[in-house]
Symmetry: C2
Subunit: 285 residues, 2 copies
Amino acid sequence: MISRGSKITIVGLGLLGGSYAKGLFNAGYKVTGIDIDPSAIEFAKQYNWIVEGGDDVNLVKDSDIVISALYPNVFIEWVKENQHLLKPGSVLTDVTGIKREVIQQIGEVLREDVEFISCHPMAGREFRGIQYADPHLFEVANYIIVPTEKNTEKGLSVARDLAKVLKFANVTELDAKEHDEMIGFLSQLTHVIAVSLMNTSDNSHLAEYTGDSFRDLTRIARINEALWPELFVLNKDNLIHEIDNFTNEMQAFKEMLENEDYEGMKEKLITSTERRKAFDKKVPR
Amino acid sequence: MISRGSKITIVGLGLLGGSYAKGLFNAGYKVTGIDIDPSAIEFAKQYNWIVEGGDDVNLVKDSDIVISALYPNVFIEWVKENQHLLKPGSVLTDVTGIKREVIQQIGEVLREDVEFISCHPMAGREFRGIQYADPHLFEVANYIIVPTEKNTEKGLSVARDLAKVLKFANVTELDAKEHDEMIGFLSQLTHVIAVSLMNTSDNSHLAEYTGDSFRDLTRIARINEALWPELFVLNKDNLIHEIDNFTNEMQAFKEMLENEDYEGMKEKLITSTERRKAFDKKVPR
């Protein structure tokens, strides 16, 4: 387990970074926070989630574990600019939602005496900012570790311990290709669907008639517009492939409807009902 | 309010008919049930939701209020075959999920001395059958009354009173065209999306990685394959229009992604986030 004396620094105190800070504080760790927004630092200090913090990158010095909770491209830039400050032998980890590009770019530039272990905590909310931080999010969420051949047992155990300390419901490992394919389908395609459904027409006058179906399908249409286009573009190949598959499936259903093909539609509904059952069983809560 | 002495008959004791029976029983009414399935009658009798029942259509005689909880086409056939048994001056209502076709066809054939007031309780579950009956469904649901020029104040008040007795969260009126357009978008399109997303590929191996996004979007992919193709076909024009609008919107997003049009995608996400807020506020629970 991560020693209580370890110096842990979180770079980026937004919703996720803040939730990490609070979760680590709850577990008895002393955390340093770095953020360019003084109000985020102030907020974290006020609740003692961090013992020290500010916008000075030198705060990262002497850290045994550095957790980046920055957006992917900002994270890559941050490493390029500030990696000379990292402590030899330290472990660097992240929370980014796409992996191939991040792992490749960080791998190309990072010092050999710092180990990067890339992780994806699949947790989020429709709100952003440290004021919505809540480590309870993790108790129903997956924590995915994406190791490469460069990773050592030490790096892996830091990642696993972090997931345990933060009480993630489930910890698994995938390679970067598998991760990005999975995310392209389960997360990115679903968000594009929700956004497109919400944008299809201005139906706010229908709000009073709305049942759970429409509400469930569009919950994630409240989305962080600063982050997600970046995630989409960094996984463009997979996401375009999934959008094509999905719209082809919609098109096939539409043709059955046009032809009043009752048997064909019935088959589709039986298949979807059967498949959905697999997703009922394994709910982690 | 509907008099406690009224004779109320429910035709079709499935999930909805059963929930009506239980709700009316809870409110102190004596209900008669008609169903071709003896086990449904048995179930309803066992809990005293109905005082008498069976498969004999003659049970409908002397009923002041007849509630059909049959599928649309079966309902239309039932009226054609059995309307001679209805009591002069009685009120007939239904639960069908599409309205233009039902109202037109019933209107063409129904005796002049019986009033049909068409209603749509927007409540349901992913399961079917009286064993899943639960009038608590209504406490978070909309009850839509779809009056025509043939309806009288008496018919309207029976519909309104029924909604009140069954404790629906919200009661509104729409005409048949407005109703079917609304349902085509809010309910039918969302179900086709959920089914298509589930059917896009067999991703049951991804179940362990699934967060709430995918689970929320596919909950309604568990769907009654006997009922919905009928509802889709009976609202074909509206549903095809909505599928086209939606897939065009998906296509536009895909083109932005292909072109790495960050600003365009950002605008889409801002719009969807803004619009979704309207649907947050009016949750009836």
